[in-house]
Symmetry: C2
Subunit: 610 residues, 2 copies
């Protein structure tokens, strides 16, 4: 068998597998999978893709991402053709408990990243390519299979522009231009020129081919491998449902499996299928990234009499910890002089990536970096991280290890006004399964929690404040995920105030004034919003009966609701001060009062409850 004949035979086996597995499942996306069969067969088995299938996480493996995640049946069929998925296994597609889920997840060992929400794969590829070129300095190449429909997603163009800017000639996009979206034709159908000229305008090398013609496909990958200083975009004309006449190019088949009654007819069109043929992948060179040494970081050293913002401490912490945690990399969306990621960037420019005003791509790239073993700290204003909620949501399904930092939280940012205020970020990040949400109140806490975040495996969100706040903790204070600090406690406390960040300082001020009036209150710094220190909260609820939560955040989904959930069933009364009025420009103190989350409001609430 010639190489081409082998590829044809493998393509046939893969088509066969796509059809039988989706028909067995009764659902799935066979037509979206069929259009990319030659493209992917040519990639994996054409001799160029270098991947040790026994060590999927080998640092020098080439990477293949399915941005069009609904082509999962193709992904699984490819690996069947590689001998890593059995015929029995592929028939478990979409079944409860099977690693072959409806869209790729890490349950399947050859899934690079969970996809299925369109337009995200190229950003993840950007992260992996950045890693190869600038961090690990390894020759592996990253390939991303893209659908044409999903090229409408702006996030793809963020990835495309950044990839060109960073000269990622180790990144290859392959657009499967099969003309048909879910509901009908895409905006451009088979007008390949549209894609070509846009890719070129954005600085990529376009390579236009017939996506079902193996010689052209192999040539394209070879051509792509020779492009320097810019990424390559293979733009392939394909037919959705290719290979089966009653599916090919027909509308109405998106996301539909061939019914059992029609399967035989479909398979017959494939002709004789050699179900024993298997393809081999080339092996990667045995190169590993240079060992990164770790030396202990300098200690935290804040003077107790000089207020410092937690956002500044965030940046300082990253710079300080960088030597001890050599896998830390930092990404920011053109606001590093506000988030203070710039402090790290100045001392470790090789580990900092300016991602410009494109938060979605920044998040996807962070995922890509985390999947390649880095520990990315990804920052912007808390308000602007909402731009990337879908990417944040999806990163959890890849078991990501990303640390997000949202600065400028709350109304207390002041005169810039509502558009810049993060008021829903705690709610957003609390929805992440097993996500960690940290909200330090002073510089020491911020530094300590940045380190806890670096040590923790999983998604962490750190919320930082714009204003300078007093340093209230000793430099050697210990903070842990799931902990809290009882700052004021007295047996006669009438109520316990639970706060974090800027409102913790308001609570402490309220404490002083109320104490002068003979009204003792407890104060807890709830720096770990998720997971919560439930034991301490229960203890406080038992002791004082009433809890007042105070947060510079909307009422829904934030600290108040989190505390109330933790205390459900205890009989504790929980009152919540939060942002309930339309926010606006004003000085921080004016806004804290206006939104009734200031020391004045706390005192008023305490007196009201007595």
């Amino acid at each position: 068998m010639t190489d081409l004949q082998k590829l044809e035979a493998l393509a046939k086996l893969i088509r066969y597998s796509i059809l039988v597995s989706t028909t067995e499942a009764g659902s799935g996306h066979p037509t979206s999978s069929l259009s990319a069969v030659e493209l992917m067969t040519g990639l994996l088995f054409g001799g160029r893709f270098r991947f040790d299938a026994d060590r999927p996480r080998h640092p020098n493996n080439d990477r293949l991402l399915f941005s069009k995640g609904h082509a999962a049946p193709l992904l699984y069929a490819l690996w069947l053709a590689a001998g890593k998925v059995s015929e029995r296994e592929i028939m478990t597609l979409r079944k409860f408990g099977s690693p072959l889920e409806g869209h790729p997840t890490p349950a399947f060992p050859y899934t690079e990243a969970a996809t299925g929400s369109l337009g995200q794969g190229l950003s993840i590829g950007v992260g992996m390519a950045l890693n190869a070129k600038y961090l690990d300095k390894l020759p592996y190449r990253t390939y991303v299979l893209l659908g044409d429909s999903e090229m409408a997603e702006g996030s793809q163009w963020e990835a495309i522009e950044i990839a060109a800017y960073y000269r990622l000639d180790n990144l290859v996009g392959i657009i499967d231009v099969n003309r048909l979206g879910q509901r009908g034709e895409t905006m451009y159908g088979h007008d390949l020129e549209v894609y070509r000229k846009r890719a070129a305008a954005f600085g990529w090398e376009p390579i236009v081919i017939d996506g079902h013609h193996f010689p052209q496909i192999l040539t394209a990958y070879e051509q792509a491998s020779r492009v320097r200083e810019r990424p390559a975009m293979i733009i392939a004309k394909t037919e959705k449902g290719k290979g089966i006449s009653f599916l090919e190019g027909r509308s109405g088949w998106h996301g539909k499996a061939v019914p059992k009654a029609d399967l035989a007819r479909a398979l017959k069109e494939l002709g004789e299928v050699d179900r024993t043929v298997r393809g081999t992948l080339a092996m990667p060179d045995e190169i590993r990234p240079a060992d990164r040494t770790s030396v202990p970081a300098a200690s935290v050293a804040y003077a107790p009499d000089r207020p410092v913002s937690t956002r500044h401490a965030y940046g300082a912490a990253l710079a300080r910890l960088a030597v001890q945690y050599p896998d830390i990399v930092v990404l920011d969306a053109e606001v590093s002089n506000s988030t203070f990621a710039e402090i790290f960037a100045k001392v470790h420019p090789g580990r900092f990536f300016e991602m410009y005003v494109a938060e979605q791509n920044m998040t996807g790239a962070g995922l890509g970096l985390s999947l390649r073993g880095k520990v990315p700290f990804v920052s912007s204003f808390a308000a602007f991280l909402t731009r990337a909620f879908d990417q944040i949501r999806m990163s959890r399904y890849s078991a990501a290890n990303i640390k997000f930092c949202g600065s400028h939280c709350g109304v207390s940012i002041g005169v810039d006004g509502s558009s810049q205020m993060g008021l829903e970020d705690i709610a957003l990040f609390r929805t992440i399964l097993d996500g960690v949400v940290l909200y330090p109140s002073d510089a020491v806490a911020a530094e300590r929690l940045v380190e806890e975040a670096a040590k923790h495996r999983g998604i962490v969100y750190l919320r930082t404040t714009r204003e300078d706040t007093p340093v209230i903790y000793r430099n050697d204070e210990v903070f842990r995920i799931g902990g809290s600090k009882v700052l004021r406690r007295n047996r006669r406390d009438v109520v316990t105030v639970v706060a974090a960040g800027i409102t913790l300082h308001e609570a402490l001020a309220a404490y002083e004034e109320l104490k002068a009036d003979g009204i003792p209150i407890g104060v807890i710094d709830l720096y770990s919003v998720k997971p919560l220190d439930v034991a301490t909260l229960i203890e406080a609820a038992r002791a004082t009966g009433t809890i007042i939560t105070v947060e510079d955040h909307y009422a829904e989904g934030g600290i108040g609701e989190a505390v109330r959930s933790a205390l459900a069933g205890t009989g504790a009364r929980v009152h919540s001060l939060a942002v309930r009025k339309l926010p606006r420009s004003g000085k921080p103190r004016e806004l804290l009062d206006y939104e009734e989350i200031s020391r004045t409001a706390i005192m008023r609430k305490v007196r009201e409850l007595l």
Copy 2:
């Protein structure tokens, strides 16, 4: 004074106003404002922009959107130059209570839409332009001032591609290419060719000019007005801080006001400023959109024995109500055969806009349409609406009247798996101030609530289910925002189960089985998740002491936390069943059981509590 001399005089006055107002405020973005002075002065006062300043909402006014919202000082200065803001007023910039906020909000009558989160203005402009061209059929033109930094946002390219697709030759973008972003240079500096070739590749007519040269500016607007069948993008080379030598083109001045001590020096550079000069705007033609007639819609008519999905009922409701609510328009992101927006599209194609796989732009366009008096229903999978959280967040600050519909909520979508499951959408939409969150359990409720959404002024979110569910309500049942339905109640109820959507049916099934076992439970359909029917919940809590909430949604920020907040202080014990394990592919029933939100789980919980 010649026209050009007048424009120069106005530009000087505007520069003066920008400087004094920001220096007085001690903050703001003067340099970002200064770079666009000629561009905007030439637009407003060059005779082409047609706007009745006494009737800012006039349907045939031209529209000007500041996508670079931080240039708010320029916006206010322009309107001072138009005689609509006094010198005293402009000195209130950023002060608490002033309509001149840090970034534009509707508090200022000439703000078209609240901006400040970059990359959103062009989508809003797309909505306004779609309205002019296809709905109102009015000749007004929409202009969007864009920053160069924000062209990195993918959402801009979504807007750009859709605008070309819809042939919006009544839309003009103006990119203020001042080279400097917040932290430093943009990716392309003053390389105008990059912007030109990208705009051209995306189907716009590029017009490259010197952004400080009035003759070129006026010619550009004239040229733009003659472009047919595609939008025009004016790409203007400018200097950040133009007009003041120590600001012009200098790094480090982003977001910094000129200190009081340096103001005199800056103003001196302007030379003699005629503070009395005022500009006039051309007036729009007195044309109004054709009256849209309203006729009563057909009645809701579902047979009680035929299950129908609420997602299908959503589409059917839109189609049915269209004649009675002529301002309803529908947008969808290429999944209308799944969200069933297609039912409306088939009967009212002129009021349906396919927005392709670009949810951010869809949302921004929805905002633009709502600001022009339409009632947009914007749909996609609930999971994919998270893609547009920043746009949703920002739309609230424009007092938007948008109705979002997220279909395929929960794990009960089944085998497609986690990427497609909306599990955090309730949390997301609950953070919207005064937002409405509705979760109908059957087709009748869905139809009724779509109508309530259409009648309500503000942001509404409707959550729909993929599965067919039984029709449990009479066709004439009344549903109201803030209401609920007590479906099962008995004096001996041991507990009340509060559910909605798919879990409401699980609760009803649990009721039957428990009843057979002699265990009576109450069941409440909490179809209005925000605002909640607090009175009914309190009543149920009093009656049974214990509430069990059940939701096909993550535990954080959803129904459980909402109910717990409503019952805070009542002593009610609230237990919550929700999605707490990593979701996966599986049949709906398997997943409901796996996540312990099924009838079996409800019964188990009830028995456990007894």
